[in-house]
């Protein structure tokens, strides 16, 4: 089945011939299939106009999630079910309740973002229950609308279940169809890159053994997980990806295991699934994860990818460093375990060898009495890259700091601990004087950059202030977070 990708669409099997393995689903839909309801607004997964819903098998059942088609390689759709805005038409040709609700509430103006909202709301609708306002906002945080101000769209999401409840898909039939598409061997697609004309190969192994072997044989290959970063190399940087190994179908990388004292999260687990577990252990970690990307991005992007790409502004590393997490790297030579902070050596340099890949992340459960805080600072609350991401973990005994970890993203060339500030706190009373001394020491820990997200001055100041905020929160100061702040006199 080389060069052919199979997926289900509107109850029928689509066998798509893939000429260039890095062609995106959006391009294929719009220009090959003439399904133009799905729009391109940004081609980088930040506006949601291209939102589609993908169904895939997990534990023998089909699960649906909203994703951005603009940065999703068509090849990754193999064995899955696709729903686009055109799929929602009911048997009599009428509108789906989600669509009807948007019409009734005047939820569209220019209409260009609308199909994307429809699909994000459809994914929410499939949950079958009326959502809270916070859940609705979370579901559409990755969909930008420049016309309506969002009110009518939120109204529609609130009302959509009143309009029709019997429009849920026949899950058994859907599952059955996907079972028939299921592969148990490595998918290999060969093609020519549209821009360079060079030869390209795409592999999608299904076992970790096959992945290990393939990567050992092709150590220069690009490892593709959720594609929320790699997708942009194609759509924005117009790069040719010569050899791509998709890790998305490797079952072992998708496992989450509770081992008692810790949880192991496969490197291929997406944010959404990891968030469900981690927010139970570290509520503040969950709070920040809820603000990473958008629902669409969190449904695609993986924890492993966020660590592996070594970005100094990824949010997971600082959150995991303070949780004393470790990563497990695997190659044909075996596995090795290292502290996550040691993985980051310098800008663009990580402790990873050719042919070696991240297999899983080990996250210890919080020790009794551990104080843990996490903060994400950005211009916008939702779907923004952090100017600074901060995390603090402190364990005290008799009022004296016995363990302390302070880690930041956005403050250095790598995610980095504040060594001098930690030293200032360790073994000292956990009080305001120590905190102020640690804040001062932080100026020696970091020389941040100025860029379009924030100035160096702001970054350092706010890094210091966040330590104070963390401290005040431990002292019982409650009015410290803006999220869910209510007006003084709501009516």
């Amino acid at each position: 089945m080389t060069n052919t990708v199979q997926f289900m669409l509107d109850g029928a099997l689509v066998r798509a011939t893939v000429a260039d393995p890095s062609v995106t689903l959006l391009t294929y839909l719009r220009y090959e299939m003439a399904r133009t309801g799905t729009k391109e607004g940004c081609a980088e997964g930040d506006c949601g106009a291209c939102t589609v819903v993908v169904g895939e098998l997990r534990d023998g059942n089909v699960h649906y999630r909203a994703v951005n088609a603009c940065i999703l390689f068509l090849a990754t759709l193999d064995g899955k079910e696709l729903l686009t805005v055109e799929s929602l038409k009911s048997k009599d040709g009428g509108l789906h309740p989600v669509q009807k609700a948007l019409v009734e509430t005047h939820g569209s103006q220019c209409g260009f973002c609308t199909p994307g909202f429809v699909m994000s709301l459809y994914a929410l609708y499939l949950k079958g229950v009326v959502s809270t306002k916070a859940e609705i906002e979370e579901a559409i945080a990755g969909n930008l609308c420049r016309c309506t101000g969002y009110g009518p769209i939120i109204d529609a999401a609130t009302k959509m279940h009143e309009i029709g409840a019997d429009e849920l898909p026949d899950l058994a039939a859907k599952t059955n169809a996907l079972m028939n598409l299921k592969r148990d061997v490595t998918l290999k697609i060969e093609g020519r890159a549209q821009i360079s004309g060079g030869r390209t190969v795409y592999y999608a192994p299904v076992t970790i053994a096959a992945l290990t072997k393939l990567y050992s044989d092709n150590p220069d290959a690009i490892l593709l997980a959720g594609g929320t970063d790699v997708g942009l190399w194609v759509t924005k940087m117009h790069k040719t990806l010569n050899t791509v190994i998709s890790v998305s179908d490797v079952a072992e990388l998708k496992e989450i295991k509770d081992l008692g004292g810790c949880v192991e999260i496969g490197a291929g687990v997406n944010y959404s699934d990891a968030m469900a577990v981690l927010s139970g252990l570290y509520p503040d970690m969950g709070g920040v994860m809820r603000r990473i990307g958008s629902t669409q991005i969190r449904n695609s992007g993986t924890i492993g990818g966020n660590i592996a790409n070594g970005s100094p502004i990824g949010d997971m590393p600082p959150l995991l460093i303070t949780a004393a997490a470790q990563v497990v790297a695997r190659s044909i030579e075996g596995v090795r375990t290292l502290d996550i902070e040691d993985y980051f050596i310098d800008y663009g340099v990580q402790d990873i060898k050719p042919g070696e890949f991240l297999e899983k992340i080990i996250v210890p459960k919080p020790a009794e009495g551990l104080m843990y805080g996490a903060y994400k600072l950005s211009k916008r609350f939702d779907q923004d890259i952090s100017a600074v991401c901060a995390s603090f973990a402190v364990l005290t005994h008799m009022g004296v700091t016995r363990r302390v970890r302070i880690a930041f993203g956005g403050m250095a060339a790598t995610p980095k601990r504040a060594a001098k500030a930690e030293a200032m706190m360790l073994g000292k009373p956990f009080n305001i004087a120590t905190i102020e001394a640690a804040m001062a020491a932080m100026a020696d820990d970091f020389t941040p950059l100025s860029d379009m997200r924030a100035s160096a001055n702001y970054r350092l100041q706010v890094a210091q202030n966040l330590l104070m905020k963390f401290y005040l929160e431990q002292q019982g100061e409650v009015e410290t977070r803006l999220l869910n702040k209510e007006p003084v006199y709501a009516q």
Binding site: T36, G37, T38, K39, G41, C42, A43, E44, D46, T84, V85, L88, L95, V98, Q99, V103, E104, H106, G107, S108, Q109, C110, G111, F112, C113, T114, P115, V118, E137, N143, L144, R146, C147, T148, G149, G151, P152, I153, Q194, I195, K236, H238, K379, R380, F381, D384, I385, Y458, Q461, V462, K469, E477, T480, K485, E486, P487, V488, Y489, A490, Q491
Partner: protein
């Protein structure tokens, strides 16, 4: 047309004026079946265009070798300045916007050439092969450096009345200040796009996502060196415009037309988001300085304002935009003795352009800052200072540009809204909250809006329409306005349905095309329904008159005994279906097609003295916003907003409410999260949604009460006594910024005025908080 004061009569038809009617394309938007230009089927031999742009802010091109670009696989043609048969200019009037840079480049992103190839991938790959050499020239990228270099796009303009100098010298109290207001990217969801098809005789048909088809038509012809009638421009709908598709689209339409005519193949150019944000203009950023004199109750006695704006590399619409900033420097306040000077700076950055409000927001926020400053200085509630300075009766009703304000309802709106939103009680509660909250501080503000309606360039205030009735009674409606989501097509269809007294479903809304209605103005300045509604009404009335004449003759009854009501025509004691009358009229050889025309009455303006009546009327609104800020991080959120806005006798309250909410949130974005950052080299650093942050759903205040003012009625004879709605509510967001100012002021116990620039990003707010904590000189 209702002219009484008791409220509008509502007709029995479906889709009557003054009723809620959903957007005509809503059911297509949600189904994904509404067609935008990129959704049109692509002809097999279609060319894809990709623009090659300047890498330097200001430089002489010493050599440009495009040989390798031309030789690249799939390339059909490469076009640059020397390939233009007509004029190398796509400016709206000043003649200083070359389609392709010729010799000198003046901003990073300025188009230098375009590649047309078989596929977009081939075009992109070919573009990279260009070899352009530059000799760097000194560049000016911001207001400060332009001020130093005295780099202007036109002479500074002055407006004013009374004697500010003397009044300031005599004033009981005097304050001065300075602050900056950022620009804004339109971020329409559908990027710029054009699609041209060559026709016979070297003519060309262009689909363009434009608010101004006539200008695109004119400029394409100008570039091709052909008469205007060789070009047809068409647009059914845009995926958003907001002013960003007023002058910019001509550039891309001209490139496509040129490629199409040159190769004989259809040509499409769709900008990638980053390229769109880098190549096309934005809202002007401003610097604002003031010197104000006032008495102990906050009455402003004298005021001097200096506004400076970054216009970018060319004139574009900057003169009119900066004029509008001056026109709104007063907002709702009578300023007896005022001097306004407006500097329009040329910089080596993208040429800034129209954006919802068109300079008005930048002008208006200044006076609101002045009032906040006065209130903090006197320890008064800013609402009282606002109320003290409002326009009033004779003696207090002349604007700085000499126009009499005859319709001011700002006072009534403020009073009604302050009451319904419990402004005064909440202000007290917020102060109590702030006294006990260490880290979080709240703020509240109420601000009014007065916004002038009409193009200030008088001749633009004209519109045309074309209405046909087919023999079966169905109506075909066309006019010069364009649909960008604002519901214009819906409103104009309502006007026509109302006139014929038929259900709106019988009125077919059709794409705007220069072939049907010529010489139109941009759909801009909030004027769409005012102008096109009137033109369509004129066309419908002409046909209706013919139908009445025919019926009177045919049925032998007096004309005044014929009336149209609820899909029927009453002819004395007979009644027949509307469609029956049109059929009979057709058989009797009565013309059932007519054009319509409208020009706005009363307006005139002298740009030399800056005096006159540039506006037919003003729109009013008011908003209260409550915010909370984090004094450790500068993060901020709007937690509640109440709005009371007047749109006269609204043509369609549901659509107007949508415009109000959308405009408010867009304004809120401008003043909070949306920050354009330019590098020292003049490059735009925030050119994608990953770095440029427009509001998302969770930024919308949790509590949001929006109401139309039910007493609204236009005192001018506008279309069904309605008022424009597109731009005015944008400035309701001033309340958000003033509330943040209030919250920051709480840090110094409301004794000092914060130094806060817009947008109020977390960084800007934290810096203002830190600044206000420092001791200041008296």
């Amino acid at each position: 047309m209702p002219s009484d004061t008791t409220g509008p009569q509502i007709s029995d038809i479906k889709g009557a004026v003054h009723t809620d009617l959903r957007h005509d394309s809503a059911h297509k938007h949600v189904a994904g079946s509404a067609v935008y230009i990129d959704d049109l089927p692509e002809p097999k031999n279609m060319l894809h265009l990709y623009v090659g742009t300047s890498a330097k802010a200001h430089a002489q091109i010493t050599s440009m070798d495009l040989t390798k670009v031309r030789a690249a696989p799939g390339v059909a043609c490469v076009l640059s300045a020397s390939d233009i048969p007509g004029h190398n200019d796509v400016s709206p009037f000043a003649g200083d916007d070359p389609l392709f840079a010729d010799g000198v480049v003046e901003y990073i992103g300025q188009p230098v050439f375009v590649v047309a190839a078989d596929s977009i991938e081939a075009a992109i790959a070919a573009e990279k092969l260009a070899d352009i050499r530059y000799e760097i020239l000194p560049h000016i990228t911001n207001i400060d450096s332009a001020e130093k270099a005295k780099s202007y796009i036109e002479a500074s303009q002055k407006m004013g009345q009374g004697d500010a100098e003397v009044k300031l010298a005599e004033a009981e109290n005097r304050l001065s200040g300075s602050f900056r207001i950022g620009g804004q990217d339109h971020f329409y969801l559908e990027g710029q796009i054009a699609f041209a098809t060559p026709e016979e005789d070297g003519d060309v048909h262009v689909f363009s996502s434009t608010q101004h088809p006539s200008e695109v038509q004119h400029l394409v012809a100008h570039v091709l060196g052909r008469p205007t009638n060789a070009v047809t421009v068409e647009v059914r709908r845009m995926g958003g415009g907001f002013g960003g598709k007023e002058t910019s689209p001509a550039m891309f339409a001209a490139m496509c037309a040129l490629a199409a005519v040159k190769t004989g193949r259809p040509a499409k150019l769709r900008l990638d988001r980053d390229d769109d944000m880098i190549i096309t203009g934005k809202r002007h950023d401003f610097k604002y300085d003031y010197d104000v004199g006032f008495d102990s109750e906050g009455h402003i006695s004298g005021l001097k304002i200096a506004m400076a704006s970054r216009c970018g590399r060319s004139t574009d619409l900057s003169p009119a935009i900066n004029d509008r900033a001056m026109f709104h420097a007063d907002n709702c306040y009578y300023l007896s003795d005022i001097d306004i000077v407006s500097h329009r700076y040329k910089t080596h950055t993208v040429s800034n352009t129209a954006f919802r409000g068109f300079g008005g927001p930048q002008g208006m926020i200044g006076i609101e800052r002045v009032i906040e400053h006065i209130a903090l200085d006197l320890g008064l509630d800013p609402l009282d200072v606002r109320a003290a300075n409002l326009y009033g009766d004779t003696g207090r009703n002349i604007t700085p540009f000499g126009m009499k304000v005859e319709d001011c309802v700002a006072g009534q709106l403020l009073e009604t809204l302050a009451e319904s939103a419990h402004y005064r009680a909440r202000r007290k509660q917020i102060r109590a909250y702030n006294a006990s909250s260490k880290i979080l501080k709240k703020g509240i503000a109420i601000t009014p809006v007065k916004f002038g309606i009409s193009f200030t360039t008088t001749h633009l205030n004209q519109a045309g329409a074309l209405v046909h009735i087919y023999a079966d009674g169905s109506v075909h409606l066309n006019h010069g306005g364009t649909e960008m989501g604002q519901g214009l097509f819906t409103k104009v269809a309502q006007v026509v349905a109302e006139e014929f007294q038929i259900d709106v479903s019988h009125v077919k809304i059709t794409a705007t095309t220069t072939a049907k209605v010529p010489n139109t103005s941009a759909t801009a300045a909030s004027s769409g329904s005012d102008l096109n509604g009137m033109a369509a009404l004129d066309a419908a009335r002409t046909i209706k008159r013919r139908l009445i004449d025919f019926a009177a003759k045919s049925y032998g009854c007096p004309k005044d005994r014929i009336s149209f009501r609820n899909n029927l025509v009453y002819i004395e004691n007979k009644r027949i279906a509307f469609s029956e009358l049109t059929k009979q009229a057709y058989l009797a050889r009565v013309s059932l097609s007519s054009t319509g025309f409208y020009k706005t009455p009363k307006i005139h303006y002298d740009r030399v003295t800056h005096k006159g009546r540039p506006f037919l009327y003003f729109c009013y609104g008011a908003a209260v916003s409550e915010v909370v800020i984090d004094t450790l991080t500068g993060e901020n959120r709007v937690v509640r907003t109440d709005i009371l806005h007047e749109t006269g006798r609204s043509l369609n309250p549901a659509i107007d409410l949508g415009q109000i909410e959308g405009a408010f949130v867009q304004g809120m974005g401008w003043l909070t999260t949306e920050e354009l950052v330019f590098g020292d080299d003049g490059s735009l650093k925030t050119h994608a949604p990953s770095t440029y942050k427009i509001p998302t759903a969770s930024d919308r205040p949790d509590v949001m009460n929006i109401n139309l003012w039910n007493k609204g009625r236009n005192i001018e004879a506008s279309i069904h006594r309605s008022k424009a709605v597109g731009e005015p509510p944008f400035m309701l967001a001033n309340a958000v910024f003033m509330a943040i100012v209030d919250a920051v002021a709480s840090v110094a116990d409301y004794r000092l005025s914060p130094h806060l620039d817009a947008p109020a990003t977390p960084e800007a707010v934290l810096m203002a908080v830190m600044d206000i904590r420092k001791p200041r000189e008296a």
